[in-house]
Amino acid sequence: MKPIVHRLVAVLLALGLCVYSLQASAAEKSFAETKVVLQISDNDPFKQTLVLNVANNLIKHYGPDQVDIEIVAFGPGLRLLFAENVNAGRIQSLVDNGVRFAACNNTVRGMSKILGEEPALNQNAVRVSAGVVRIMDLSKEGYQLIKP
């Protein structure tokens, strides 16, 4: 029984750290006038390109310091944040401009069951307990939800 409790505590701690990490990153941009949360939950590879394009265009328009962007991936859209994803270079470039990436842990668990092992995630992806909850929380904080 103890190992399960230990694991649970470890997972909760990890998620807590992740959320703290996202909040800390968001706090760095708390003075940004425009706050946007982008949702990627689609399996279509074109949507992956599209959501990255939108983030890039927002940065170009407002400037990296004037817009706060978080991309939340869940469901089939989580593939964007797989470590092997061909868009890893673009993701890194956006991270360098202050964009944050959140990965739904519920989806990671579901995919792990299908694959038989946990998918390796992009090192820039920060896990959140549930992608939808993360979007709702950000919405309450004044973020505008855009689903390209």
């Binding site: 279509d44 593939r79 964007l80 797989f82 092997e84 994803n85 868009n87 299908i114 694959l115």
Partner: protein, 442 residues
Amino acid sequence: MKTKFKKVVLAAASATLLGAVANTVQAANWLMLQGTEPAGAGKRAHVWGFIQAQYQKDDSKANATDGYVPPKLIAPNLDDQSQFNVNRARIGVRGTALPLDSNVNYFILTEFGNNGITYPEDNTHLTDASITLNHIKGARVRMGLFKYPGAEEGLQAIHVFDYVNFTSVTNQLLLERFQQAGNQATQTGDFNQPATPSPNADMNQYTRSVGAFRDVGIQVFDTFKATDWEHSYALMYGNGNGLNFGDNDDNKDVYLYWSSERVFGGKGPRREGWKTFAWYEDGKRTNPNDPTQEQDRTRYGIGTKYLKKPFRLTAEYMKGEGMIFMGQHRPLHQFNNKEAEGWYLEGGWYIPGTKWELDLRYDTYTRDENFVAPIPPTATPSAPGDETEFNTITVGTQYHFNKKTRLNLEYASRDNKSDTAAVEAQQKGVEGRFAIQVTAIF
């Protein structure tokens, strides 16, 4: 065997040397484009295909007895000098069956058009059916029916080919024809045919599909990136029996390929860059008319391709020994140990600010070098010194309606000649050939 090994080493060394010398390098990476899907972004089932509709007119003249040979007629039917044709109509599906697992992808494509693949056998033919396993870094494995690694003109995706017709060297030396057992006397199976009056000549005497630069087998390959450079390799082991799923003898073909390229930018089949490459293939063929006879078939070559709009430049040199194609009307001559070689140089200019592109190509091919007596049965044995040369200058233009649809217009000026009087008499009247073609990709 030692000689073959030397050729392999030379081919690899040439590629490495060319890659090292080049300051800037390549175009599309066909190994990756055709054999893999984008990691983490592949579709479960991506339906795609293309249609090519064309008209061709040949201005060649008949021989002294009003006879015509294949170079004077429009392929694949070879029974007239002008023809509308839907030469390619392909539809296929490719993707990552389980999108969560990029380690496995597949590719299947079927040909419904009228060409050397479908004309001899039936109206439909599967051209590709392969599975790629990407589990081992540096050694992806592809199995099934697919394009073998080789010359750029054969390996490239045909729907982005910048001309309507292949060069003579690719058409004759690399596009393999497969013989069936034939009887000249009873004219059954594959048999030779003398020049025939047109129309209704039907000079196509092969009853099996062309190889279409494909084979069934297993390939290990990968690409390694280093800053702007990409280095690719491929090793393949296959049946050496073209599009047929099974093998017709115990012999297998070996294919080796290396390319080094500097990528300038873009992606897909028209990615900009400068690529140099070398390749080698070797196998044996069994004589369908006498299964006790076997013949080595070897091909090798080097080449380079530069693409940075508005300019494109490609050059390839190829050489072959054994199983040298002697004409679509002379299948029984194909089982031979002759030699042949050829090369081409082509360039394109994308007229800035327009949708037009100008293309110019020179190709030359010399068949039957270093004469060796043909292996029977042959209807009309060659004579010593029987070298035939095919020289073509092709002037073309392309109009790109959009990224997926374009028009090709081209005129090929041909000058063929032979040391043998009988062949020379047939080739003498070979003249220009006009072609117009529309390609739509979906």
